[in-house]
Every structure is written in structure tokens, then in C-alpha cells.
């Protein structure tokens, strides 16, 4: 099978600091990739490169056979992106915002209206659709962001901590949405720190640490070699062996000097 995303020897430095030290990754259609790693490991840098925000990287990235460097716009139109820090033009209403982002993907007004209404309705935001978002809670904004990432029916969905601020019902729904999208053959790139969620939703887990991939496989595969929960595997591989010791030092004054 041909990979939908193909990353080879991806390197990226900010100044002297090398953030990505040669990432090789092939992603196949219909996969849900759980992309995890500690803070500062290079997760969001990878994502930014993948969605075409950072142009000056070394190595090759291609999506559906398009080279990311030359066909950035084509690739951008194939990807739906839900950013992590809820950046949104909050003086607009959800409808205004969605019609704006839809137009950027060159969708027809009628299609935008139909889909936006349907998706807002599914999230229970229909009655808020003409309210300005500056009064919205974090969860409501996150819902609008998720909708704006999926509005144009993208082939690849990149989600960066998509569940933050969502209530339990919305979390269940997003998980359902992910599995429906997977059935339709969409590829999902899921970045998160919530290991239990990643463990459940992902077909394949990629763990990076200090700019390199340190583990890559299904949860079952990782479990066999490293530990029985994803949290333990994570701690094992990212070098924090003595977490309970650290926790103890956090709570108690330690005697050792």
C-alpha cells in the first residue's frame, strides 16, 4: 500500500538547537496515529512542518505523492488542522468564523452553511451559532475549532490535543467521530499528552523523544516489549525512570543531600 504521508530524514533546527534529528515515518490511509512525546520533544514542530507552516526544514515530506515544499497549497487543502491552544477569532460568531474558514478552503456558501449547521447541531451549539465567541467557554471554542478543522472534509486530520476543555459527553462523541472518519478511510494524526485516550483511539503509536522516534508500533506491540500501560511505556522510554521518587521529593522534604 502506498503511504499517504511519507516523512524521511526530517530535521529541523531553531538556531543552534536541533529540535528534530531525523524523523522517518510512513503513514497509511485509514490509520489513526497517536503521536506522543514529552514537552519539547518536537511534536508540535513535526505537526507544524506537516501542515505546511514551517518551510525551512531538511529532509523530505510528501503527502499523497505531493512534495510538501513545492505543493504546499495542495497539501494544505487536503489537511484539516485543529490547533492546540484554542486560537480563534473570538469576536466573530461560530457561523461567521466557519463561513470564513470554509471560504479559505474554497467551499461553496451553501455547502458551508449546510455542514456548519449540521456539525454545530451535533455538538449542541446550534442556539449559540450567532453569538460572539468571546463569551464562550473553552470547551465551546474547542468544539468550533474541531468543526472548522473537519468542515472541508479533509483526507488527513491533524489534531493537537483536541479534547482539552471538552466535557465527558463531547469526549465520547469526538472519539466516535474519529472512528467514523477512520472507517471512511481518513487518516488521523493525533497528538496528545493524555495517554489513556491515545492508547484507546490509536492504531499505531509513535513516541518521540529529543527529536527522534524512540518507539513505533501498535499498542500491543509496545506492550510486549516495554510495559503494560502506555503511561509506563512512555516513562520507560523517555528516560524518567524514577517518577515516584520525584513525586516523593515533590511532597516530602528529602533527606538525601
Amino acid at each position: 500500500m502506498q503511504p499517504i504521508i511519507s516523512i524521511s530524514n526530517l530535521k529541523k533546527s531553531y538556531g543552534e538547537k536541533q529540535v528534530l534529528k531525523g524523523i522517518d515515518l510512513d503513514v497509511f490511509p485509514g490509520q489513526i496515529i497517536g503521536y506522543i512525546g514529552p514537552n519539547g520533544a518536537g511534536k508540535s514542530t513535526t505537526v507544524k512542518i506537516l501542515i505546511g507552516l514551517l518551510g525551512d526544514f531538511e529532509g523530505e515530506v510528501s503527502v499523497l505523492g505531493h512534495n510538501l515544499r513545492t505543493d504546499t497549497l495542495t497539501i494544505k487543502s487536503l489537511i484539516g488542522y485543529v490547533p492546540e491552544n484554542a486560537e480563534i477569532y473570538d469576536v466573530l460568531t461560530p457561523m461567521e468564523y466557519l463561513s470564513f474558514t470554509g471560504k479559505l478552503y474554497q467551499m461553496d456558501d451553501a455547502v458551508i452553511r449546510e455542514r456548519a449547521t449540521r456539525m454545530l447541531g451535533a455538538f449542541g451549539l446550534l442556539e449559540n451559532k450567532d453569538q460572539r465567541m468571546d463569551t464562550f467557554s473553552k470547551g465551546m471554542r474547542q468544539k468550533v475549532l474541531i468543526i472548522s478543522g473537519l468542515l472541508h472534509d479533509p483526507q488527513i486530520v491533524v489534531l493537537d490535543e483536541p479534547l482539552s476543555g471538552l466535557d465527558a459527553n463531547a469526549v465520547i462523541m469526538v472519539k466516535e467521530i474519529l472512528s467514523l472518519l477512520k472507517k471512511e478511510g481518513k487518516t488521523i494524526f493525533y497528538c496528545s499528552h493524555m495517554m489513556d485516550v491515545v492508547e484507546k483511539v490509536s492504531d499505531r503509536i509513535v513516541l518521540i523523544n529529543e527529536g527522534s522516534i524512540v518507539a513505533d508500533g501498535t499498542f500491543e506491540q509496545l506492550k510486549q516489549s516495554e510495559g503494560d500501560t502506555l503511561e509506563k511505556i512512555f516513562a520507560q522510554l523517555t528516560g524518567e525512570h524514577n517518577l515516584s521518587g520525584a513525586a516523593d521529593a515533590f511532597v516530602h522534604k528529602t533527606e538525601r543531600i
Binding site: Y14, K17, I51, L53, I88, Y89, L92, L104, R132
Partner: protein, 575 residues
């Protein structure tokens, strides 16, 4: 208003297509951007309205202010009867004004970090993004340029007739050129420094420019009053050929006076070609690199600050930092101390705060120079000698309170005001000590250095004899400041949103700003009149004695007030 601009842009569709811009996306972006401009106070109104209330319809206020400034600019037509000279000055003033506006607006409009997450991940070409930014700026600018131009436009239409249309064209071209120049400066700065440093530099540029504007308004009319510009022949200064405003003035004069010699035609061509060329340059050459640089601004350097922090913490290990020592010296109790430290640190790091407060430090000096020049002098030397024989230092001393008032009124605001929850979550008995600490930090950091400068200046001009006055002044001014703190510093530091409307009594508060230092200043001035020990009501009073008694009264008042201020309770705190 926005609909009109959007229709105009849609009308120029072939041009955008030719530039390689996606028109649907362009219109979508502009529509949204203009809508957002209307819904929140923009940078322009923000910068202008430091002390005034925030208004709901910011853009209307911008139009009005610009129009008033345009009326003000008419004075250049009284300076000279030569159209070349008139227009040269007008265009120069216009360019400076517009550049300042642009610099402040570019930060909020062009460097909207949210764009990184909202627009850049979408399939929008760099060209479309840049053209949309430029057009956004242009629409924004026209809301300023058109009313600004209108008075001069009418004036020229009345005095010179149809040629005014040419003037209108030139103003628009000059606006385009300004946009280009600022854009180029931004790009250059982004190339030379890092994004974070650049924002810092920009902050200071904004501060300097706003001071220049302020100074220009106050001082230029004074300085030019006795100027005889009619005698000056601009053609005798070849260096002027480097100034774009000169080309435009010459281009106007050529058409207005019907002189179509070769050099004149050359100026006309320059005025037409350079702006068009610059527009082309911005779109074709600057566009791609600008976006790439912009993407970097969006907090991509997640690792850089971590390294910096470690460096910064190193010197702490040795001796205590200055601000901590100051905090310990000046504060009574832990809470005062922590508020002192917090205020000291945040005022030094928040760009927003610096942008609002630092210009006002310079404004006071400008006021003073303005005041010096306002008498009828024929030469600077005469003004100086008159100054040193008079008692103007009293005004200088008391006007220094305005510095303090700007500092404390801005102290309570922050765009991270939500972090203020911590005051309410922590077991704080009463906010008084926190307020007192903030007051002291503002006093030590913003007021004292300023007062020292005033003191040095006064000693240089008036000699040692003003020492008692300076000391009395310090006590009085401290008294004024604590009164101000009672009026204006009624909220916890950095815990209020900027856009909230001021409560009732704004006018009364504003009046107090004049009355309190005014009254004390008058009394102080009265004591200086007694200098030399003339008898009053038959009693022989030395001025120095009077000064001492006065100072003691003020000191007692200060002490009582500050003790009361320190006891501020949660109940009286303004939320």
C-alpha cells in the same frame, strides 16, 4: 463603510487576478478582518486614548480625530505663500503622521499571531495573504487618510480649483509609499533580529514616535511662528531630492503652476512610478519571506526561553538583586514587599505598560519646553535668562505628578488580567498592603528618578537656592501622589481588563488631577514670593521658615493618608 471598501476591492478584481491572488479567499479574509476591526478597539484608538475612556465606536473616533488633525495641518498654508513650500511641509507632516499610525497598527494588524493558527494552515497562497494584509492596512489607513486629507483638500479646492484632484491622487500615492516603507522596515528588522527582540524594539519605536508626535503638536507651531519661510528657496537644497515628500510637492507645484520643464516632469514620474513599483515589490518580493518570518513569531521557539531562564537565575545565587533590596528597604511587611517586587518586575517587562507610560514621561518635558517657549521671546538666550530669573521650577515640580498618575492608572490593567484570581485565592486579609506596595514601587521606579532629573535640571538653572523648594516639592508631590493613589489606585495591580469602562465620576477625577497639585503648587509659589524676607502683615517671615512649616504640614498629611491607604479593605476595593 466596510461594504463600500469591499465593493471597491471587488471592482479591482482583474488587478488581483493579475497579481496571482485568489479573489474569493481575499474577499473572505478582508470581510472577516474588517468585521473584527469594528468589534474591538483598534491599536490606533488605543494609543490615542491613553487617559480617556475607551469608546465603543472606535473607528468613528479615529475618523473624527484624523479630521481634527487635518484641520490643524492647515496651518502649514499660513507659513508660506509658495505652493512648493506649503506642500512640502504638508506632505512631510502627513508622511510622518501616517508612518506612526502604520507602525502602531502593523503590530496589531500585520502581526496578529492568531493568523498563524487560523489562516496559515489553510490553503491560502502567500500572495493572497500579503495582499489581504496590505489591503486591510489600506482600508484601515483610508479611514485615517481621507479625513486627514479633507481639510487641505477643501482648502486647495477653494483657493486653487481643479488642480486639487491631482493633490488627491498624490496623497493616495504617498500613502502607498508609506505602507511600503514601513513594510520594508519591518522586514529588515525581522531579518536583523529575532522575533522577540523585534517586538521589543518595536515597542520602543512606538514610544519614541508617539513622543515625537506629541512634541510636534506642541512645539512646532511655537517654533515656526516667527519663521519667514518665504525667503527660503527649496531648490537650493539638493539633498531634499532624497525626500519623497519633496518629489510629491514638486509634482504638485508643477501641475498647479503649469511648469512642465524636464526636471519637473521627472518629479511627476517619480511620484507616480515609485509607489506603484513599491506596491509591486511588496507583493512579489517581500511577500514570501514575510510570511515565513511571521510563522516564526507564533511562539515557535519553545526551547529558547528555557535556556534563557537558567541564565537569568544564576546571578540570584550571589547577592540580592536591586529590586529585591529596594523592595526590602521601602516596604513594611511581606505583602507590601511582594506587591513591590511584582509591580517592579511586570512594569519592566510588559510592553503594553511601557507603551502607555514611558511616553508620558517625555510628555512632561515637552510640556515644560512648551511652557518656556510660550512667552514672548525673540531669542533662545533671552528665554533662558528669563527662565532662570523666574520661578518656573514650581511648575516643573508639580507637573511631575502627571508622570506618576499615568503610571498608577495603568498599573491596574493587564491583558493577562485573569491571573488576578491569585489575590482572591490566597489568604489575603486586606488588599491595603498590596496596594501600598504597588504605590511604593511606582513611586520609586517611575517617580523618584524623574524627580531627580528635575532636581538636577533645577539646580543647574536656578542654583543652590532652590534646594529648600526641591525638598518641599518632594514632600508635597509625595502628598499629591498618595492622594492620587486614593483616587486612582483602587484596584489590585494587573488584575483588571483594559477595555472596561471607567466608572462614574470620571470628570471629577480628572478635575482632581489638576486641582490637587495645582493648589499645593500655588501655595508653594506663594512662599517663593516671600523670598528675600519681606515682612508680611508687619511680621518678619523668612521664606525658608515658611517652607519648613509647610513641609511639615504636608509630611504629616502624607503620613496620615498613607497609613489610611495601607488599611484599604476588601469592601472599598473597586472590582
Amino acid at each position: 463603510m466596510n461594504k463600500f471598501f469591499l465593493a471597491l476591492i471587488r471592482f479591482l478584481k482583474p488587478l488581483w487576478l493579475r497579481l496571482g491572488v485568489n479573489v474569493t479567499q481575499l474577499m473572505a479574509i478582508l470581510d472577516v478582518k474588517l468585521k473584527m476591526d469594528d468589534r474591538r478597539p483598534n491599536a490606533y484608538t488605543h494609543m490615542r486614548q491613553q487617559k480617556k475612556k475607551e469608546q465603543k465606536y472606535g473607528s468613528l473616533a479615529v475618523v473624527l480625530i484624523s479630521f481634527l488633525m487635518g484641520v490643524f495641518y492647515l496651518f502649514v498654508f499660513t507659513l508660506s505663500s509658495n505652493p512648493l513650500m506649503q506642500l512640502f511641509i504638508w506632505f512631510s507632516v502627513f508622511m510622518v503622521m501616517l508612518s506612526i499610525t502604520l507602525i502602531s497598527d502593523f503590530t496589531s494588524v500585520l502581526i496578529d499571531v492568531k493568523d498563524n493558527f487560523v489562516i496559515l494552515p489553510k490553503p491560502v497562497s502567500d500572495k493572497t495573504v500579503v495582499v489581504s494584509r496590505i489591503l486591510h492596512i489600506m482600508v484601515h489607513v483610508s479611514k485615517i487618510v481621507l479625513p486627514l486629507m479633507l481639510p487641505a483638500f477643501i482648502w486647495l479646492a477653494v483657493t486653487q480649483g481643479v488642480v486639487v484632484l491631482w493633490f488627491g491622487v498624490l496623497v493616495l500615492l504617498l500613502s502607498v509609499l508609506c505602507i511600503f516603507l514601513i513594510n520594508a522596515v519591518y522586514l529588515l528588522a525581522l531579518k536583523l533580529t529575532t522575533a522577540e527582540r523585534f517586538k521589543e524594539v518595536l515597542n520602543y519605536v512606538q514610544i519614541i514616535f508617539s513622543v515625537i508626535v506629541f512634541a510636534t503638536y506642541y512645539l512646532v507651531p511655537r517654533l515656526t511662528r516667527n519663521l519667514h519661510l518665504d525667503d527660503i528657496d527649496l531648490w537650493a537644497y539638493p539633498l531634499l531630492n532624497l525626500a519623497p515628500s519633496f518629489w510629491f510637492a514638486a509634482a504638485y507645484a508643477a501641475v498647479a503652476q503649469g511648469i512642465f520643464t524636464l526636471p519637473m516632469l521627472f518629479y511627476i514620474v517619480l511620484s507616480l512610478v515609485v509607489p506603484v513599483l513599491s506596491l509591486w515589490l511588496v507583493v512579489k518580493v517581500f511577500a514570501p519571506s514575510f510570511n515565513r518570518k511571521l510563522a516564526m513569531l507564533g511562539g515557535s521557539g519553545g526551547d529558547a526561553p528555557a535556556v534563557k531562564k537558567q541564565e537569568a537565575e544564576l546571578p540570584q545565587a550571589g547577592r540580592m538583586q536591586l529590586y529585591k533590596r529596594l523592595a526590602a528597604w521601602f516596604s513594611r511587611g511581606r505583602q507590601e514587599q511582594l506587591a513591590f517586587e511584582l509591580v517592579w518586575l511586570i512594569t519592566g517587562r510588559s510592553r503594553e505598560f511601557k507603551l502607555k507610560v514611558y511616553p508620558s514621561l517625555a510628555y512632561v518635558l515637552v510640556y515644560f519646553v512648551f511652557f518656556m517657549l510660550s512667552g514672548k521671546h525673540t531669542s533662545a538666550a533671552e528665554a533662558w535668562s528669563k527662565l532662570s530669573s523666574g520661578n518656573a521650577f514650581v511648575i516643573l515640580i508639580y507637573s511631575s505628578t502627571f508622570v506618576f498618575i499615568t503610571a498608577i492608572t495603568n498599573l491596574v490593567y493587564s491583558d493577562k488580567f485573569r491571573a488576578g484570581w491569585v489575590y482572591y485565592a490566597a489568604p489575603v486579609e486586606a488588599p491595603g498592603p498590596l496596594l501600598m506596595g504597588s504605590f511604593k514601587a511606582a513611586f520609586v521606579k517611575f517617580f523618584l528618578p524623574f524627580y531627580i532629573v528635575i532636581a538636577i535640571f533645577s539646580l543647574a538653572v536656578w542654583g543652590v537656592s532652590v534646594v529648600p523648594d526641591l525638598l518641599l516639592g518632594l514632600v508635597n508631590v509625595a502628598l499629591v501622589n498618595i492622594i492620587f493613589a486614593f483616587i486612582f489606585l483602587r484596584k489590585l495591580p494587573f488584575a483588571s481588563e483594559i477595555n472596561v469602562k471607567q466608572g462614574a465620576g470620571g470628570f471629577l477625577k480628572g478635575l482632581m488631577v489638576l486641582i490637587v497639585p495645582g493648589t499645593l503648587g500655588m501655595l508653594h509659589y506663594a512662599t517663593t514670593l516671600l523670598r528675600g524676607g519681606k515682612p508680611v502683615f508687619g511680621i518678619y517671615l523668612s521664606a525658608n521658615w515658611l517652607v519648613m512649616i509647610f513641609a511639615m504640614f504636608s509630611a504629616v498629611a502624607f503620613y496620615l493618608l498613607q497609613a489610611k491607604y495601607r488599611e484599604t479593605s476588601w469592601e472599598v476595593l473597586e472590582r
